[in-house]
């Protein structure tokens, strides 16, 4: 008889690395990344799927890891901020955030970059309006939106 505190085996790929883990049903994907895998690049802020800080790619699409259960991610392919750079070489969006001051406190930055990377993966030269529409779901409490926009738009060029 399964009890409510049982552990569940999940198999998934994180940043290209296949792995298997044991998790309680109530563990969220963001907690799984941070506490089971010690991958603390993904941040949790609002915890209700609104702010975008916890954005990761699930099977290539942006998703909120704070309202995804780890057991739901069984069989999926996850990309986190740790998987965006190519080894020591930063992704052009990461470099652009540095060059154009796309962050202040930094809490939202992982989510901003993962979301922006996903946009550019599917649409390599978005218009400013398309960037705004896409990034609506990534909030910056420092309100550094002009620099975030600039960082993304400059990474396009």
């Amino acid at each position: 008889m399964t009890t409510a505190d049982a552990l569940y085996t999940i198999k998934l790929t994180v940043n290209g690395q296949p792995l298997e883990a044991q998790v309680p049903a109530r563990r969220t994907l963001v907690d799984f990344l941070r506490y089971n895998l010690d991958m603390t690049g993904t941040k949790e802020a609002c915890s209700v799927g609104v702010c975008g800080a916890c954005t990761v790619l699930i099977d290539g699409e942006i998703a909120a890891s704070c309202i995804t259960l780890a057991v739901q991610a069984d069989g999926t392919n996850i990309t986190t901020i740790e998987g965006v750079a190519n080894g020591e070489e930063l992704h052009p969006i990461q470099q652009s955030f540095i060059d154009h001051g796309g962050f202040q406190c930094g809490i939202c930055t992982s989510g901003q970059i993962v979301a922006a990377k996903s946009l550019l993966d599917g649409n390599p030269s978005p218009t400013e309006d398309e960037v705004k529409e896409w990034m609506i779901g990534n909030l910056c409490r420092c309100t550094g939106y002009y620099q975030i926009m600039e960082s993304i738009l400059k990474a396009v060029k």
Binding site: I58, E61, A63, I67
Partner: protein, 284 residues
Amino acid sequence: MRDFIYHAPTTIEEAISILEEHGEDARPIAGGTAMVNLMKQNMVLADHLVGLGKLPGLRGVSQTNGLLHVGALTRHREVELSTEVKTHSPLLAEAYSKVATVRVRNMATVGGGLTHADPAQDPPPTLMVLDAHVVLTSSKGTRELPVNDLFVDYYESALEPGELLTELVVPSAPQGAKTVYLKFLPRTADDYATVSVAALATVENGVCQEIRVALGAVAPKPIRATAVEDALRGQSVTPEAIRAAAEAVADQVDPLTDFRGSDDYKRDMAVVFTRRALEQVFSL
């Protein structure tokens, strides 16, 4: 979040049997955008969650005999981007594109969104004016239910315990019909509507033939504005007639005062946005 038992059935029959076995103690979960939040906030205290993600055959869009079939596990984003949906029912693609953010639309499923029965969601008013229905599956077989009858109260759908919403079916709009969906968003672009209105109309020789109007976010469930429809059907379409008909919605709505506005404000905005929707479908 408290502990619970997670089930990952691989067939619809298995999912239904688990839901039947545990009754009120079990809830289905698909995209999770609603359910995980409800569980986190202890607003749902389920001992069992039945993950639907591995059920086959419930994701995707197809057409038969002019009807658009949308599988319950189809993501909001997939409906928004589907060429088939855009061609068959552009109003529907637009409504799904208005939900929250890309991130949420990638996760949230059509079936999950509808059974969540949040009265402020975008798709229901458009589905109501398109006369869509859903297919509900249980151990007794399947039954069809008009979307007009799917919603019962705040966050309460007409699904019986052990029933799963498996498909959404949308007929084409009548020949020559004009449609519109207006979402009043005075706060942020990713917000729920403060008031939303969907309308569909056909006109012949200046006389209103078919007229369907539905509103979201202004009552315990999305509503058909029958008083507005009755005031216009068979009548000559004039700016005065539209203005008068839109006023009739004020008595049909029952909004809540919240941080998006007072009940009086929302009632006024229901009239304003109903009028604007009518002006658009009648090209006035």
